[in-house]
Amino acid sequence: MIGAIKAQVQSTIDEFTSMNFRQLLLQGTNLGLIVTSALMIWKTLILVTGSESPVVVVLSGSMEPGFYRGDILFLNMGTAPVRAGEVVVFSLDGRDIPIVHRVIKVHEKSHEDLDILTKGDANYGDDRALYNPGQKWLQQEHIMGRVIGYLPYVGQVTIIMNDYPYVKYGLIGALAVFVLTSKE
């Protein structure tokens, strides 16, 4: 195994040293293209779904047995106002991590002015305990989107990358080497 890794590193170095300036430039452009197209896909998704974060990873078990930690959810904002029974993703003022929970109450004055209360399917009580002190309701601006699609397990990769940053750097490095040395 170690021998194989050594051989791999050696061949990668050889690959680089055998390149001339033009080849290096070409491979660098390839890497740039891949990064920018990934960014373009993400921004297009934001535009199409109307949600600022169209794909989220479930981080807690409060929606079990539907959604487990590490599952991926696809969001869509849509134009219709939020209704009781839907699963939404909301982010509270001053907090980084968005929450995926179900809407259990809606009191609406107009489509722009509505009070929303949420609850996790696996939680005993409603979310007032989770909201900021004194906050009793969510408003439309807290809502990031409603859940329309589900994919299990895949988000586990990002959880591992967040918990162990070196895995993330390693993966990004490996991908960069792949792109820079591939000759096709």
Partner: protein
């Protein structure tokens, strides 16, 4: 250059592409599935209606007879089934409150026969003001399915013609979730 790293990369790419394709196909089969939930119109009685912390709160009892087993396909992980009430007041044209919910993890658990369904904690039917008296309201039975992989599907059936009592009435002792007043 065909080293183990490149072969591993090719294998991983091929496997994930195939898996993604299978997930999309599985979702497409859900679209072709005709579901036909059977829900009987519930009898709803307002057992009590009182002011709590300056807001009207109604205590309902209803019977639920429903068969939602047809929601389940081979790609359905769970169905979230809920009962909600909807009413209007002068200041707020739309008020919705979930009263009861149930998670069915297979078709058998989606067959419901509940003759005495009460509002379940922490759900409450509470107005934002004191405008419930004599108001008409709807009761709907809704559902949302979560797949093993793919799209979530939701639906509901609404029943209208119910009315809150025109006077406040004390809440009977036996009502679950009764607040002390």
């Amino acid at each position: 250059m065909h080293t183990w790293l490149y072969r591993g990369n090719a294998l991983f790419t091929a496997a994930s592409t195939t898996l993604a394709g299978l997930c999309i196909l599985a979702t497409l089969t859900d679209l072709a599935h005709p579901s036909n939930p059977q829900i009987q119109r519930p009898f709803v009685s307002v057992e009590g209606l009182q002011k709590e912390s300056g807001m009207d709160r109604a205590y309902l009892k209803l019977n639920l007879t429903a068969d939602l087993s047809s929601l389940f396909t081979w790609n359905t992980k769970q169905a979230f089934i809920y009962v909600k009430a909807e009413w209007q007041t002068a200041s707020r044209p739309i008020n919705q409150a979930v009263l009861w919910s149930h998670i069915a993890q297979n078709a058998r658990e989606a067959v419901l026969e509940l003759p005495h369904l009460h509002v379940q904690y922490p759900y409450t039917l509470t107005d934002r003001g004191v405008d419930l008296l004599g108001q008409p309201f709807n009761v709907s039975v809704g559902w949302q399915t979560v797949p093993h992989a793919g799209a979530l599907f939701a639906g509901s059936r609404s029943f209208s013609g119910y009315q809150f009592s025109s006077e406040r009435a004390p809440v009977p002792r036996y009502m679950p979730g009764r607040a002390w007043s």
